[in-house]
Each structure stands twice: as C-alpha cells, then as structure tokens.
Symmetry: C2
Subunit: 151 residues, 2 copies
C-alpha cells in the first residue's frame, strides 16, 4: 500500500494522562525550565458533544499544553465519567495516551480508518475544531488522535 | 526553577516496544504509505557495553526507524535478557516506552538528573554515540532517553 491514510506524517502532539495535572505540569515546567502553562477545562457536554464508544458522555478533562520544538505535549487529567482518558488511566496508569495528527476531512478520514480496522473510540468538539481518537492499538500499539481545525 | 535540565526542549524520538517488529513495522509502513524500513539488531554486549539497573546485561533488541516530520519513530523488539525494554513489555505490554532528546555532555546530564531524583535505568553505546534511559516515571510519567552523538 502506498497511500497515506491520514494525508500527513507529521506528529503534532503527544498526550499523557495524569492523575494530578497541577503537580505533573509543575514537574514538566521545572524539567524544561519554562513557566507552568496552567490548565483549562474541556467544554461541557452540550458544547463538546462528546461521544465515547458511540455513547454521549458527560466526561471532561483538565488540559495543560507545553510547546517542545515542533511538538505539543498535552497533559490530560480526566474526570470520573466514561472516556478514553479515564479508561486508559484505570487500565494502564499514568503515561502516554496518544499521538496526534492535524488532518483535513474528519468524516472521510474516520471512515477510511474504520475500514482499515481502526475504529473510532471517542470524538468531540472544541472551540475552532474537532477531534477523534482512533483505536489503533492492535496494528500500531497506540491510540491515534485526529485534530481538524476550522480555517 | 528556570534552568532547562537537558539543555534542549526538542523531542527527537518516540520509542515504542513491540512483540513482533516485522508485523508492526509493516503496519506503520501501510499506515503512512511509506516503505518498510526493515530492522537492525543492536550491537552485541561487548560493543554496546549495555548496563541495566547497574548490571551488565546481554540484552539486545531489533530496531526499526520511521521519519515522521521532525520526529523519529522507533520500534523496539527486545530479546529475553534483562532490559528496560523487556521490563516495560512484560509490565505494560506493547506501546510507547520513551521520548528521546539529543543532548551534549552525557555524564553531567545523567548526574544532574540523578540529583533531581530521576535515576539512570539503562545505558549503552552505539556506533557514533551513546544512550541513557532515565526513570522519570514519577515526576513526568515517562521514561526519558538521552542520545549523545559524536561529532
């Protein structure tokens, strides 16, 4: 096969699930000698329209972002509602959760991946765009996130 | 603290431990629409001088590398001898093992990190350089790899 399924090879982000975002973001700030970026809360369910494994969920998360070279490091502290973040934290503990790619044409990309046996795990909206987490654990040993930003 | 402990913020590599490097490297090649890069075996113990948790080890691994934007993706299939790769695979299963940074002054950097309660986990030599894996699981929820290349 010589078709790139995503239309990009550029990893834009690494996401790490954590139990205490304030503590871990301070540890990263100390490690890299940068300011603590603080955290923000993902939008509430009505705005985010979050779906996890095909079901609407109230799940929200605290997010903190570090810019490291061309890459963004995202720390994620999930709440107790069902989500890929919560599930990963409960099953694997704290650590790397996903790598993310900025794509165009979310619906088509998600359909293409589902046809390639990489099913949609979670999706939602954020201000200026939308995301989808893809279960690529079997072929790629990773969760892949697609990010589509409105122009 | 406003000192960068590594002297860099640029993530150079993401490393993923796998059980079957041929199968997983083909899955990545299909996913990104690129050629399968094949794999190479790390140097034997005498050349690599591998130490894991302070003890010499015979451990070797098959490695495959993909270039993704500014980042290198490394797949690692460890053998059965003691190593951070083998331990991670046995404890966590397949998945992301480390993020790596290219640094200068390996001894000083390792000492600095050990003083910051991030102990050395494994080290070894490769043609043209050397590596060290640092246990940063407690503060950063990740294993950090330092890579030092000779000029």
């Amino acid at each position: 096969m010589d078709t790139n399924l995503l239309g990009t090879q550029v990893i834009a982000q690494i996401g790490i699930v954590v139990r205490d975002i304030e503590k871990t973001s301070q540890a990263y700030a100390d490690f890299f000698g940068v300011d603590n970026p603080g955290w923000s809360l993902t939008a509430a369910a009505d705005a985010a329209q979050t779906e996890y494994r095909g079901q609407r969920t109230e799940a929200r998360a605290k997010l903190a972002f570090f810019r490291l070279g061309s890459l963004q490091l995202e720390l994620i502290e999930p709440d107790e509602h069902p989500s890929t973040w919560r599930e990963y934290l409960d099953e694997h503990g704290e650590g790397p959760h996903h790598i993310a790619f900025i794509i165009e044409g979310m619906k088509e990309k998600v359909m293409t991946l589902e046809r390639s046996r990489m099913p949609l795990l979670q999706k939602g909206e954020y201000t200026g765009g939308r995301y989808a987490y893809i279960d690529a654990l079997k072929p790629l040993k990773m969760i892949i996130e697609l990010l589509e930003n409105d122009r």
